[in-house]
């Protein structure tokens, strides 16, 4: 294989592997910006994966499958929203409950899909004239619609978060909910919506694995991606544009892992790479957050309680 095609195929694989991470991270950025840490990403992703696979298989319509995954991700996130926002439960424990539930239910639903390849996976959407660009063309513009959409989405989400009044409201709820409440912002509604949106994106991220990336169902196929997402959110310093960098960096690490395998390095040692890198990325994100004194929403993980408890 010559160098040019090696780079092209690595880039191609990087974008694909980074996409579920990007979707999950974007969702978690919004949830955490509103002040709710959702550690249930892994569970919502895996449920998205199994539901997307099942619906795609039975309706023969992969877009319907992705839609169903978005819905299940959103619905599951409402469990976490209810526990952590309405009942003010511990967010770490609640998120772990959601992940555990997702891993269990997906294995039950998915038991009939094991070993079946998806006959109608998400097909690439060629951006015709652009594919003629050497090296980059075939790897960047030969992807499927979710890959393109997730990049556009990141930009839109950045604009909303930092350039619109909706974004100000979301951030104010995550920074100082009492002040936001006093200013007439509905803290609970915004938090619910952000967590729900995060669930929707996690569901789609999981769907990407089962209808485009592999495309098949395997128990536990998210392989900890949902947890890597939590680390990436910190690495991205809760910024959707930095999320693109982080997600593709990790996509690259995952892609590299498979490219290096034929060179005789143990696949198990290579498999440690993304996890070890997550720790490194977390340290980078944390130290930068501390150095620049920006980043982590002040009220992250703290339930909001109104003074008056009459509903």
């Amino acid at each position: 294989m010559n160098l040019e095609s090696a780079i092209a195929s690595l880039l191609y694989a990087t974008l694909r592997a980074g996409t579920p991470l990007l979707l999950g991270t974007l969702g978690e950025v919004y949830a955490e910006r509103s002040g709710v840490m959702n550690l249930g990403v892994e569970g919502m992703m895996i449920m998205g994966a199994v539901v997307a696979f099942g619906v795609s298989l039975s309706t023969k319509n992969v877009l319907l499958g992705i839609l169903a995954a978005a819905l299940i991700g959103g619905l599951l996130s409402l469990i976490h929203a209810f526990l952590s926002i309405s009942l003010r439960a511990n967010q770490v424990v609640s998120g772990i409950a959601l992940t555990t539930l997702g891993l269990g239910v997906s294995s039950l639903i998915g038991r009939r899909y094991i070993g079946i390849p998806l006959p109608n996976p998400l097909s690439p959407l060629l951006l015709k004239p652009l594919t003629n660009i050497p090296v980059l063309g075939k790897s960047l513009f030969n992807q499927d619609i979710i890959v393109y959409m997730s990049i556009i989405l990141a930009v839109i989400l950045w604009l909303i978060l930092f350039k619109t009044s909706i974004g100000i409201r979301i951030r104010s709820v995550g920074e100082n909910p009492a002040a936001a409440d006093a200013a007439g912002v509905n803290v609970f509604l915004i938090r619910y919506l952000c967590v729900f949106f995060g669930g929707v994106l996690s569901g789609i991220g999981g769907a990407y694995l089962s209808v485009a990336y592999f495309p098949s169902w395997r128990e536990g196929m998210t392989m900890g991606m949902g947890w890597i997402v939590i680390g990436l959110t910190i690495f991205a310093m809760w910024n959707p544009l930095r999320a693109i960098v982080g997600a593709y960096l990790f996509g690259g690490i995952m892609a590299l892992q498979f490219k290096l395998q034929p060179m005789g390095i143990s696949p198990n040692l290579l498999a440690m790479l993304p996890y070890a890198s997550t720790i490194v990325a977390l340290l980078i994100g944390t130290s930068e957050t501390m150095r620049k004194r920006i980043g982590a929403p002040l009220a992250l993980g703290i339930p909001y309680e109104r003074e008056e408890k009459t509903y």
């Binding site: 424990v93 959601l98 555990t100 891993l103 269990g104 039950l108 998915g110 900890g224 939590i230 440690m272």
Partner: protein, 355 residues
């Protein structure tokens, strides 16, 4: 009609009652999930119950599975009291198993020292695996939920690497496992069961130790202060670094001992991670929470979840379900416990007004 919430501090009876109710409700929710997926929950539950508690051997197996849960669960309850979220008991357990394997298969170690050395080195290796994220948390403020979890995955890959690579047994053909341990490295068991009682004794001792730690010692009190009110802890001059490292050392070390018990007490060889641990490290999170971070509560919860794991194996065989379905119970119980805690802490009052 108005709904009012009044804060209250629940008594022991209320707590027990609500916890019990939460578990029953969680079993109900899980039943609905099973039913929706074409599995008759009544048959499944009967199989689980009979498998786990219906015979002497079944119950002995429940105890076997409760051993690592008690060790990991008690350890986690120490960390969680300080609100240090060690989610890495699974990896710490695996590192204990790796350490035990290294001792067991090392011919330079006198046979009569092997078992005690395995426990000591297993504790140390589990502790080191937890102290790394602990250090990163205490010194660099790195979120320990993520670092401990990532350490789990790294430990899993390390075990896989060892059993297919450098430590693969010479006579094991295609099986990814080490050679069998010499008899001198087998933890003795109670006759006709697989209960490796030395580990069980250590598990019980660790709960007593933890109870004394919390109730009688200054450092136990400091752990609670750091967890409940870090600001106050700082003003009182309690070293955050010391407490974080201490709770990580203890929780990681106890998980490491659980790993020693699994390989030296049951399998007598190192196998791929899913062959050594049925997700004990993760289940222990729920065990410690269900046990209200109380050592005695952890023992009771461990027996319950040990039973669920044994029953889970039973329905895996008889109903052809994947072993991960047991996570449905785990997730549902944890969710309902959280709701129950809310109901325990708040009294809901309905106020009816005329008209």
């Amino acid at each position: 009609m108005k709904i009012k919430l009044e804060k209250r501090s629940p008594g022991t009876i209320t707590t027990l009652y609500i916890t019990f109710l939460s578990i029953i409700l969680a079993l109900g929710v899980s039943a609905l999930i099973f039913e929706s997926q074409g599995v008759n929950p009544l048959i499944a539950y009967k199989e689980i119950f009979v498998g786990a508690f219906g015979s002497v051997y079944g119950f002995s197996e429940t105890v076997v599975k409760a051993i690592p849960l008690i060790l990991c669960g008690v350890g986690l309850s120490i960390a969680f009291r300080a609100k240090i979220w060690n989610i890495g008991a699974e990896g710490q357990l695996l590192m204990g198993a790796v350490a035990a394997t290294w001792i067991a298969l090392n011919n330079n170690i006198p046979p009569n020292l092997k078992i005690s050395l395995m426990f000591i080195v297993g504790f140390m290796c589990g502790a080191i695996w937890a102290l790394i994220p602990g250090f990163l948390r205490a010194k660099l403020n790195a979120n320990e939920v993520i670092t401990t979890l990532m350490m789990n995955y790294i430990a899993m890959e390390l075990v896989k690497y060892l059993v297919v690579g450098p430590w693969k047994g010479a006579g094991e053909w295609g099986f990814p496992q080490t050679s069998i341990f010499p008899k001198s490295a087998w933890i003795p068991t109670i006759a006709k069961t697989r209960i490796h009682y030395l580990t069980l004794i250590i598990a019980f001792s660790s709960t007593i130790f933890t109870y004394i730690l919390f109730v009688r010692t200054k450092v136990g009190y400091e752990i609670k202060v750091v967890g409940d009110n870090p600001e106050a802890a700082r003003y009182a001059g309690i070293s955050h670094f010391k407490i974080v490292m201490l709770v990580m050392l203890l929780s990681g070390g106890l998980a490491g001992i659980a790993g020693v018990g699994e390989v030296a007490g049951i399998h007598h060889r190192l196998r791929p991670p899913e062959g050594i641990s049925a997700g004990y490290g993760y289940t222990a999170i729920i065990v410690s929470w269900l046990g209200k971070l109380n050592p005695l509560g952890v023992i009771v919860a461990s027996i319950l979840f040990g039973g669920l794991l044994v029953g889970g194996d039973a329905i895996q065989v008889s109903l052809g379900l994947p072993s991960a379905v047991i996570n449905i119970f785990n997730g549902a119980i944890l969710t309902l416990i959280l709701i129950g805690e809310y109901l325990a802490n708040y009294k809901i009052k309905f106020e009816f007004r005329g008209g």
